[in-house]
C-alpha cells in the first residue's frame, strides 16, 4: 500500500510538472507582452505633466481626450467605421462560406478555401500596395475608365473613407470565412432538407435554421474582424486621406511624433475599453457567451 501511495504521489508530481511546463510559454506571453505593459501603460496614463520632468497623478489625460472634439470625433469615427467594416465583411463572407461549406464537394472545396487563403501569403504591406496600384490616379481602374470613355481625365479613387473600407474588408475576409465555414460545415445537410420538406422556403430556412446554427461562428468571426479593424494601423494610413483619421494613428503620433507618452497611453486605454464594451454588447445582444463562440 505504502509503495503504491508513493507511486501515486510521484505521478501527481509528474503531472504537475507537465502542466507547469505546458503553461510556461502562455504565462510568459501573457505577463511579458500583455499584463506588464498594460499595467505600465495604465500607470503612465494616470501621470499628468505639470512642468518639465514634473508629474502628478490624476485623470487629466482622460479629461483632455473627453473634452477635445477632434479626439472624440476620431474615436467615434473609428468605432463606427470598424462596425461597418465588420458588417460588410460578414455580408460578403457569409455567401462565400455557405458556398464553400455546403454547395461544393471534395477537391473544388479545398481549392476554393485555398484561394481565400492565398492573399495572406503576401505581407499586408504588399497587399495594401496592390490596392494603391489599382486605385491611384494613374492606376489600373482609372486607366480603364479613361480607355472606356467613362471618365474624361484621371480619377483619384484613393485617400477617402471608401478606400479604407475596401482595404479593411479585404484584410478581414479570411478571419470571417474560417469560423463561418467551420460552423456551417457542422450543419447536417438533412436538417436543411428537412426544412424544405416541411414547407420552408429559402429565406425562411436561412433565417430560422442556417443563421441560428451559424451564430457562434458569426459572432466569433465578427469579434475578430472588429478587433482587427479597430486596431489596424497600416490600411487607414496608406489608403486613407487627410480627413480619414484613424484612432491608432493618433496613438502613434502621441507616442512617436509628439513624444507625449502619457496621453498616448490614455488613448490606448480608451481603445481597450471601447473594444471590450462593444464586444460585450454584441455578445449580450446575440445571447452568445464567449465560451460558446470561442470553444
Amino acid at each position: 500500500m505504502l509503495c503504491r501511495d508513493g507511486t501515486v504521489t510521484r505521478m501527481r508530481a509528474g503531472q504537475k510538472l507537465g502542466l507547469i511546463l505546458l503553461l510556461t510559454p502562455l504565462l510568459l506571453w501573457l505577463s511579458l507582452l500583455i499584463i506588464i505593459p498594460h499595467i505600465d501603460l495604465f500607470l503612465l496614463s494616470l501621470r499628468e505633466r505639470v512642468g518639465v520632468r514634473q508629474y502628478e497623478t490624476g485623470l487629466g489625460n482622460y479629461t483632455t481626450i473627453l473634452t477635445e472634439p477632434l479626439y472624440m470625433v476620431t474615436f467615434a469615427r473609428t468605432a463606427m467605421m470598424s462596425i461597418l467594416a465588420t458588417a460588410l465583411t460578414l455580408l460578403i463572407a457569409f455567401p462565400v462560406s455557405y458556398y464553400i461549406a455546403k454547395m461544393v464537394r471534395g477537391r473544388a472545396r479545398s481549392v476554393l478555401f485555398l484561394m481565400c487563403l492565398i492573399p495572406f501569403w503576401v505581407s499586408e504591406l504588399v497587399r495594401t500596395f496592390g490596392w494603391m496600384i489599382l486605385l491611384r490616379e494613374s492606376g489600373v481602374i482609372s486607366g480603364l475608365l479613361q480607355w472606356a470613355g467613362l471618365a474624361a481625365g484621371p480619377v483619384e479613387l484613393l485617400y477617402n473613407d471608401a478606400s479604407i473600407m475596401v482595404g479593411l474588408v479585404y484584410t478581414s475576409m479570411l478571419f470571417m470565412v474560417v469560423p463561418l465555414v467551420t460552423t456551417l460545415d457542422s450543419l447536417d445537410d438533412a436538417v436543411i432538407e428537412a426544412g424544405y420538406d416541411l414547407g420552408g422556403s429559402g429565406p425562411s430556412i436561412l433565417r430560422e435554421i442556417v443563421i441560428p446554427h451559424a451564430m457562434p461562428g458569426i459572432v466569433s468571426g465578427s469579434i475578430v474582424v472588429f478587433m482587427l479593424s479597430l486596431g489596424n494601423y497600416l490600411t487607414p494610413t496608406m489608403l486613407g486621406g487627410k480627413d480619414s483619421l484613424w484612432f491608432t494613428q493618433m496613438i502613434y503620433s502621441q507616442f512617436i511624433v509628439r513624444f507625449n507618452w502619457e496621453l498616448g497611453a490614455a488613448f490606448g486605454f480608451m481603445l481597450l475599453i471601447l473594444s471590450s464594451l462593444i464586444v460585450w454588447a454584441v455578445l449580450r445582444l446575440t445571447g452568445q457567451t464567449l465560451e460558446k463562440t470561442m470553444g
Binding site: A190, V191, A194, Y196, L198, G199, E208, P212
Partner: protein, 369 residues
C-alpha cells in the same frame, strides 16, 4: 375511378441515372391509401434514391410520380403533400420541441393559437404531452423518433416517407419502435412508405413489401408471399435465412425436381412458375426452420429428402438456436434447433438425420454459369 379508390402514391416507370450508372431502373408501383408500404433492399440498391425522388430532392431521369392521381414532378419539395422522416431524424437543434413541430405550420401561415393547439394535440397523440418546451438533446432516442414523426404528421401529408429511421437505435428500442410505428400508422391512418435494409422491420410492419436489388424491384407482395413464395433467387436469399446449394437438375416431373448438388447431395425441390429442364444449372434454397432434425432415420420416413450426418456445431441463441449438420461428404446444413427439450442433450459429433419435404426446396435457375 373514384377519388376514394385512387392510390395515394403511384410511381410509373421511375428511372434515375447518375452519369452512366443506373440507380433506379424502370420501377413501377402503387401504394393504396392508408397502407404501410416498405422497400427492402441491401445498401446501394437505389431505395434511398427512390425516396428522394418522391420527396422532390432528386429529379427522375424518366417516369412519373403521382400523388392522389396528380403528377408532382413539377412541384418543388416544399410544396409536395409528402413529408419525410430522415435517417438521423434531422430535428432542428436550434429550436425546442414545440417549435420543431410547429415549423411546418408556421410556414403555412397559421395563427399562433392554432399552431399551439395543433402542436399540443399531436404531442398527445404520440404519447408525449407537455414536452413542448424541452430541447431536442434532452430527449431519448425513442422520443426523438416520435417527435420527428409528429413534426411531419401535424402537416397531414398524403404520404409519409421514412428513411431507415430506426437504424440509429439500439436493438431493444428498435424492437419496441417497430410495434409503435405500426400503431402510429394505424392511429394517423396515413400512407407510410418505409425504406430499410433490415428485413425484420419490413416483415413486421408492412402491409406490402417490395424487395429491391440493383435498381429494380425483384418482387412485390405481402410479408408471407416474400417469405414462403420467393420468386427470384435474390429474394429467397435476402428475406429470411436459407441453406443454399448449387447443382444440376437430374429429374423433372412438372414442377417437382430432383437436383444433384455439386457436393453430391440429392435434393428434391419445386420451382412453381419457373421452367427448369433436365441438365439445367439450378440453385436450391431451404430454410433452416423447414428442416426436421431426428436421431433415427425412421422418424423422417415421410420426407422425400433425407440426409444423414453428424453435428458439426451448435449455435446457441435462445429461441433462434441452430445446429450445423455435416454430411458424409462434409457439406454443411443449417437446421433450426427445436426448443421443446428433446434435443437438449445434443452435442458435437453426435450422429443425426435431417429431412424435409420437396415443397420446402425452392429451386431457381442459376445465374451466369
Amino acid at each position: 375511378m373514384t377519388a376514394s379508390t385512387l392510390p395515394d402514391l403511384e410511381c410509373d416507370g421511375l428511372t434515375k441515372r447518375f452519369g452512366a450508372s443506373v440507380a433506379v431502373d424502370d420501377v413501377s408501383f402503387s401504394v393504396p391509401a392508408g397502407s404501410f408500404f416498405s422497400i427492402l433492399g441491401p445498401s446501394g440498391c437505389g431505395k434511398t434514391t427512390i425516396m428522394r425522388m418522391i420527396a422532390g430532392f432528386l429529379e427522375p431521369t424518366g417516369g412519373d410520380i403521382r400523388i392522389k392521381g396528380r403528377s408532382v414532378l413539377d412541384v418543388p419539395p416544399n410544396k409536395r403533400p409528402v413529408n419525410m422522416v430522415f435517417q438521423h431524424l434531422a430535428l432542428f437543434p436550434m429550436m425546442n420541441i414545440a417549435d420543431n413541430i410547429g415549423y411546418g405550420l408556421r410556414r403555412k401561415g397559421l395563427g399562433k393559437p392554432e399552431i399551439a393547439r395543433k402542436v399540443d394535440e399531436v404531442l398527445d397523440r404520440i404519447g408525449l404531452p407537455g414536452i413542448g418546451a424541452r430541447k431536442v438533446d434532452e430527449l431519448s432516442g425513442g422520443q426523438k423518433q416520435r417527435v420527428a414523426i409528429a413534426r411531419c404528421m401535424v402537416l397531414e401529408p398524403d404520404v409519409l416517407l421514412l428513411d431507415e429511421p430506426l437504424g440509429a437505435l439500439d436493438l431493444k428500442l428498435r424492437e419496441h419502435m417497430k410495434v409503435e410505428l405500426k400503431a402510429l400508422q394505424a392511429a394517423f391512418d396515413t400512407t407510410f412508405v418505409y425504406i430499410t435494409h433490415d428485413q425484420s422491420e419490413a416483415l413486421v410492419m408492412s402491409d406490402r413489401i417490395a424487395v429491391m436489388n440493383a435498381g429494380r424491384f425483384e418482387q412485390m407482395g405481402t410479408a408471407r408471399d416474400l417469405y414462403y413464395r420467393p420468386q427470384t433467387a435474390f429474394v429467397a436469399g435476402f428475406v429470411g435465412d436459407a441453406n443454399r446449394w448449387q447443382g444440376r437438375v437430374v429429374r423433372a416431373e412438372g414442377e417437382a425436381l430432383e437436383i444433384k448438388t455439386d457436393g453430391g447431395l440429392i435434393l428434391r425441390g419445386v420451382s412453381p412458375g419457373r421452367s427448369l429442364a433436365i441438365g439445367d444449372r439450378a440453385e436450391v434454397f431451404v430454410r433452416p426452420e423447414a428442416i426436421r432434425l431426428a436421431e433415427n432415420a425412421a422418424q423422417l420416413a415421410h420426407f422425400d429428402t433425407q440426409i444423414s450426418g453428424h453435428v458439426a456445431t451448435i449455435l446457441f441463441n435462445g429461441a433462434a438456436s441452430r445446429v450445423i449438420v455435416a454430411d458424409a461428404s462434409g457439406a454443411e446444413i443449417e437446421v433450426t434447433l427445436p426448443q421443446s427439450g428433446e434435443f437438449a442433450h445434443l452435442s458435437r459429433g453426435m450422429p443425426v438425420h435431417v429431412g424435409w419435404s420437396g415443397e420446402q426446396g425452392n429451386c431457381f435457375a442459376a445465374m451466369g454459369r
